[in-house]
Symmetry: C2
Subunit: 416 residues, 2 copies
């Protein structure tokens, strides 16, 4: 059977009453209408690129055609009283993100890519660590750009700085007296395994090691409590669960206790205490604003700003409850057929250890995912053999999950 | 006379026949219709934020509502054959910019802010300089973010690296054996003074010093020939004369001869030879693409991409001829009244030493510019006492220049 016809009417596949009942009592069900999802597609890749919301469409048109096109340079300061000026845009977005990650607004800086922010917090952390601690510890299977940025920074610094990559389950055993900081991604991008941020932060603190958390697959997916955990630094991504658009500006977190001492390696004029004073010497702005470097990319940042408003009326614990229910259902539907279809679950079943995705190994994962995508069931392939399905509680229904699981099953049965 | 009425009908002020004749034979006159300029305003601040073009409006709508909203994650690779995929977007924009600055496409990397790009090229230059050369030389009055970024990098590196700031006219005398590189902005943002890029690059090369040019007020304003001058590195801004929108992605130039040896300090996955291989070790992409760091901000980068198409049919030498004619006319109209109105010209009269702006000192510059802007004549104030007027040959007419000069005169006479 040609793969393109296996899932021909997947988005209209009848859904059992008990699944429809879950949607009927979903307290987040109304959020779906805020998003513009393409017809005929079940999109389970919001952990790679979040969907477009209606308010972003309006905002991008407004910022382009009115704020830039008509008000031009004036928009940098216009509306400062009401908080609409471009100069303060990074701070406004920071405040919205702070709520999602358990931070104070002045502990968050928004702008640049996750990679560049990782460089900033790594340099800040190494700068406040005791001089005899020159090892940057990380999970050897961390997301590649975290590894690459750490390689670039330690090479640049020289002077005995070293990136030490160890297996994920050996990180705790490596919190030794020569370690300055540990860089970990809370949710593994392949498996969806979620680390205990509070416990590991406490372990590290007890060992005198600073924590740097990559929240790429955490922020906006479930509540994060950086300050509750006593975390030191963090970074995160604007274009996954925050739905800020392709390559949206990223963010960093720096705990208040480090603001005075941490060096600002990328010290640009937008992190200066008074950018238009045009002073000859860099004087950092108060708080994490100092980590904003150059002129913010206003179009992309405005899209993220508008996208974040989707969270304004959302209880993050309700978001987590729904996320776990979605991923639980997906696994439960595939459990009975998984072995027969050569699917090996790699996502932890324990809720506390799971992000907002479900991943399986499959020997033909690359080809299977290509066929699924061609048929309108969009997940992600990750090397070497992973089928990844991301669930976004803001815009996914339980009916979506049911249809997706049945679609995966049908596709694999057709290939068998 | 209230200042708001002095210039009430400036944009309809009658223009002499000889000025209209210049517009009638301007080979670039047709370009103005490509831009959306607000009514009732003469906008002489394109050197701070370039104007919006019609093609950018269309492109931003398309990338947001179609490429992101409908094609979603697929847009990263869709249309790769025809060069429309997001993955190659930085390279496509780089090729368009390369033509404007005398570079090969593979010598330009696009993305991040000018500040972040400055960090990248400074780190690259210091990394290829002889180890005994640890001084980074710059003009003490360089644009602040250049100074701040250089401060941040030299502090980060430690090890005897030093930022040496000298008066602009003493730079040549300081090209000494301990100097690794010289960082200069070709066109001074206050005065519009344009340095002889070729001559200074040759002097530096003869002294064994690498050149790093900030082209913020050069690229798109007049032809630049980096390779003709044998320049080593450069950075530039996307939101001034390139009209890429507020905070548009910036660019860097790295001469081919340095690609193999120059370290990539900000080594992110989008500069990896194969980003989706998810390899554990950073392997740089060929050419300057290695200097692309994180995921590109696609909305902002698409706006810049579309904006650059305004240059496709433009002879850059014709652009320069018109630019000089516009600034010549502005000065000539104000010359007879300048002394009486306390205007002191600070822009060089010599064409080769002038960018695409005209600046005057005035004892009440801040208040005068506020009044001009309120009346619809938008220039810029720069500390401590500079009135700055930027001229963009793509969308300014000689009639604009005439009216602007008369407007400045009328405003100052009304205040006298």
């Amino acid at each position: 059977m040609p793969t393109q016809t296996v899932l021909a009417d997947l988005t209209t596949l009848p859904v059992p009453a008990d699944v429809l009942a879950l949607d009927a009592r979903d307290p987040l069900a109304h959020k779906r209408d805020e998003f513009l999802l393409p017809d005929g597609v079940i999109y389970l890749d919001g952990n790679s690129l979040g969907a477009l919301s209606r308010r972003v469409v309006q905002r991008v048109r407004h910022v382009t055609e009115e704020e830039w096109g008509r008000a031009l340079i004036g928009s940098w300061t216009l509306g400062a009283q009401e908080g609409r000026d471009w100069m303060a845009l990074p701070d406004r977005v920071a405040a919205k993100i702070a709520r999602l990650i358990g931070a104070q607004p002045d502990e968050v800086a928004v702008g640049d890519s996750t990679s560049v922010n990782t460089f900033k917090v790594l340099a800040a952390a190494l700068g406040v660590a005791a001089p005899e601690r020159r090892v940057l510890l990380t999970d050897a299977d961390n997301f590649p750009t975290d590894l690459y940025v750490a390689q670039g920074l330690t090479a640049l610094l020289g002077g005995g700085y070293e990136l030490r990559r160890v297996p994920a389950d050996e990180v705790a055993a490596h919190l030794r007296p020569d370690v300055a900081a540990v860089l970990l991604t809370q949710v593994d991008y392949r498996t969806g395994r979620c680390l205990d941020l509070a416990a590991i932060s406490a372990q590290a603190r007890a060992a005198g090691v600073l924590t740097i958390w990559d929240l790429a697959h955490s922020a906006g997916a479930f509540p994060v409590d950086l300050n509750g955990a006593g975390a030191d630094f963090a970074v995160g991504c604007g274009y996954k669960y925050l739905n800020g658009g392709p390559g949206a500006p990223a963010f960093l977190f720096a705990a208040r206790r480090w603001h005075a001492a941490a060096p600002v390696a990328l010290s640009g004029w937008m992190g200066h205490a008074d950018p238009f004073e045009m002073a000859r010497d860099y004087v950092p702005a108060p708080g994490a604003r100092r980590f904003v470097t150059g002129t913010p990319m206003v179009l992309s940042l405005s899209a993220l700003d508008a996208a974040l408003d989707a969270f304004a009326d959302v209880d993050l614990h309700a978001l987590r409850v729904k996320s776990l229910a979605l991923t639980d259902m997906f696994m439960a539907l595939l459990d009975p057929v998984a072995e027969r279809l050569a699917l090996t679950l790699v996502t932890p079943r324990e809720p506390a250890q799971r992000g907002s995705q479900v991943s399986y190994r499959h020997p033909q994962a690359r080809e299977v995912m290509a066929d699924l995508i061609a048929a309108g069931l969009v997940g992600d392939f990750r090397t070497p053999d992973i089928l990844r399905f991301g669930f976004t509680p803001l815009y996914h229904s339980f009916a979506d999950v049911y249809r997706a699981a049945r679609g995966v099953q049908a596709m694999l049965e057709a290939r068998a």
